[in-house]
Every structure is written in structure tokens, then in C-alpha cells.
Symmetry: C2
Subunit: 204 residues, 2 copies
Amino acid sequence: MAETMRRKARLSAEERRALLEDAACACIARGGIRDFTVDKVVAEAGVSRGLITHHFGSMDGLLVAVYTRMYRDWLAVMEEPRPGLSRIEAMVEALVSPALFDREVVNIWLTLWGEIANNPVLRDTHRALYGDYRAAIMTALEEAAQANGREIDAETVATAFICLVDGFGVQRCVEPALLSEEKARAACWAFLRPHIGDQVGAAR
Amino acid sequence: MAETMRRKARLSAEERRALLEDAACACIARGGIRDFTVDKVVAEAGVSRGLITHHFGSMDGLLVAVYTRMYRDWLAVMEEPRPGLSRIEAMVEALVSPALFDREVVNIWLTLWGEIANNPVLRDTHRALYGDYRAAIMTALEEAAQANGREIDAETVATAFICLVDGFGVQRCVEPALLSEEKARAACWAFLRPHIGDQVGAAR
DNA sequence: GCTGATACTATACAGTTGTTCAGCAAGGAA
DNA sequence: TTCCTTGCTGAACAACTGTATAGTATCAGC
């Protein structure tokens, strides 16, 4: 901020990587996979063309890094404990919170899904990470069901719940006006309650 | 088939357009938006490079045509009446039928969503068509609810249901093994029953 | 100071992108 | 037959794609 000098700072590899991932996210958020190009990312980051190859080996490498970061951030918000809320309640609130429900964030996810579906490198990365997300949701579901003395097929319910949430993402990208935060929250509970019971937490 | 002559046939504009849309679908199904290029589409169709511009004006024009056709086909299968089933039952069966649940079909949809989110031309096309889909689902929901003497906020339920179905698409593209036809059908009914009641049709 | 490692730039490269356009050829109308 | 419309080709175009690489600048350890 107080940096009046415009000289290019020499950053650590880690810092520069993070900066390039930021720039890549900004580009993808703005224009999807078509804006994920060398020229656009380096222009956004304000660095030279060679840096992407230098730090990530290739554009695929950068995309993998973007996916990994998005995934890590997503999971962190999902698992953030919220005072007075049960695990599953906290997750639902996280899902409709500005940090995750944001259209730009979700546009990046939509783009990444498209890549996972068609790019083997991304697919491998996804396979390696995705299990944690499923596991976290299953645990929260089992916890809630148990609190209500219910039996639950956590795997099946989790799969369907993830579909619902992914569908929110699609909807937010394609026609944001039709799906408000409140509607999404209501839809989550309408879907979950029949499976995990009415009393889903201390505060509800 | 019995055409031994390899001479290029001169087709009507309509026939050739359909052929190019077919080719474009095949390319997108195979590799997403990155395989939707002039060279790949014309190679798939076995025609010269100039033909796309000639018939569709631009690649955007072809993509709009692909979206329009996908949309029309989708809606046709959804609204196909099935003997012994109510409207909503027929729709759920359509959704998990090979014609719509197919991974290639759904990969095209995922690609199109990505484009709708970021390409103004596609977005306009989507806006112009999407209402019919929502309306069809709302009507089917209201019909089912009424048959059970239930009140229903068809718009809200339809929105959430569409999200669930879109999420199936994402899941089928990203990790097909996790979501079988049976699981999808079960998830649909688990979601719908609390809203429209238990007796959802003559055959159930 | 010197030295080696490495963050970083800038250019060059071959291949691909979408679009334009001049011209060919098939088929109907006269 | 002689037109004219139009489906269709193939080459040419400038802009852009990702990557390789030679060279420069900066830092840490000595």
C-alpha cells in the first residue's frame, strides 16, 4: 500500500505461486475456461509470460493448483464450527454463506467441473481429494441422525445432498436471480429433515 | 449404407445444419468446450472449414443451435407420456432413462452451462428457452399435489428439484460410478414425496 | 566481497484459433 | 440450352495458443 516503488519485487516461490493462483481464479471467475490462458493470467498478475511454466510447469499444473486451493478453502469453510450449531447445521450455513454461495466462486467451480469431466490431469486431482468432502458430510449426517435416534444410509444421502448443492452452483451461475440464499437453505432442510429428523441441533 | 459413391452429396441447408450440429455434439461430448473448434467439428462432419460460417455465421451461432436442439430433445423426452404413470412420474423416469441420464448427453449439458455462465449469446438463448422447462415441471408438480389434496409452492419446489437434477448431471460427469440410475430415482422421490404426497400416480 | 542457486523477463517458436473470401459446381427456373 | 441461386470448397489471414529457452537480476551462504 505504502509501496511507492514500482520495482518488481522478488517473491518467494510460495508467495508467487499464490499470486498466480489468485490471478488464475480471477480470470476464470470472469470468463470461465476461455479466459484461463497464459496471456490473460500473466496480465492479471502483472508478470511475464514465462512465470507460469517456471512455477507450475504448465497450464495444467496451474489449473491443478487452482483446484487444490479451491477445494481446501471450500472444505475449511464447510468445517468451520459455528457456535450453537450442530455440524450439519454449520455446513448448511456455510453453503449459503457469502464465502461459498458467491457467484464468482461458484463460476470457478462450474469451470473446474467441466475440466474434471474432460481433462485427465484434473480428474486425477479430483479423485485424490474428493473423498474428504464426502466423508465430512457423511460424518455430519450420521451425527445428526444419531442425535435423533435414527438409522441413516449416510452414503446415499450424502451423494444426493452433494448433487443438490452442486445443482445450486449450476443454478447460481446460469440464472442467479432464481435461487436466493434463503431458498437454498430451505431446500437443504426440506431435503435433509426426512432423513436425519426434525431436531437437528441445539439451536433449532 | 449402399452408397458406394463417395462423391460429396449436396444437401439441403436444413439437413446440413443438422449434420453439423450432430458433429458439434459429438465433439463436445468427447472433450467439452475445448474440442468445440472449427477444425474438429468439420473433421467430424467430413466437410470443409467454410461450412460452419456459411450455415451458422459463426461458432457462437453453431453453439446456439446445439443448445436449442439439446433443449428441444430434452423437453421432448421429459414430456413423453408413459402409460400408467402420472406426469411427474413420467418425468422422473425420463430423467433417469438412458436418453437423458447418458454421460455423453450430460457432458454436453455441463459444457453448455459453462458457456451460458460466461457467453452472453448463449445466455440470451437460455433465457429465451428455459421458462418452458420450469413451467413443465411446475405443472406436473401441481397436478400431483392436487391429486393428493395438498398445497404446494410449485415454483420453489421446482427450482430446488431442477437443482437436484442438474447436480445429478455434474455428478455423472465428474464421478459417474457414484450415482446409479436407481440412486438418482430414489433421490428424486425422497425429495419430492414430502412436497407432493405419497400417492403420486395410478401405478404407484 | 565472491559464488551458486533461482526468481524472473523477454523473445522466439510451431501449431491452432475463428473468420473472410474468391471461386467452383449442382440444381431449379426460364 | 442459358441463366441464377446457393450449397460448398480450400486457401489465406491475423490473432492467439502453450511451451522452450537464453539471458538477467536478486538473494542466501560463504
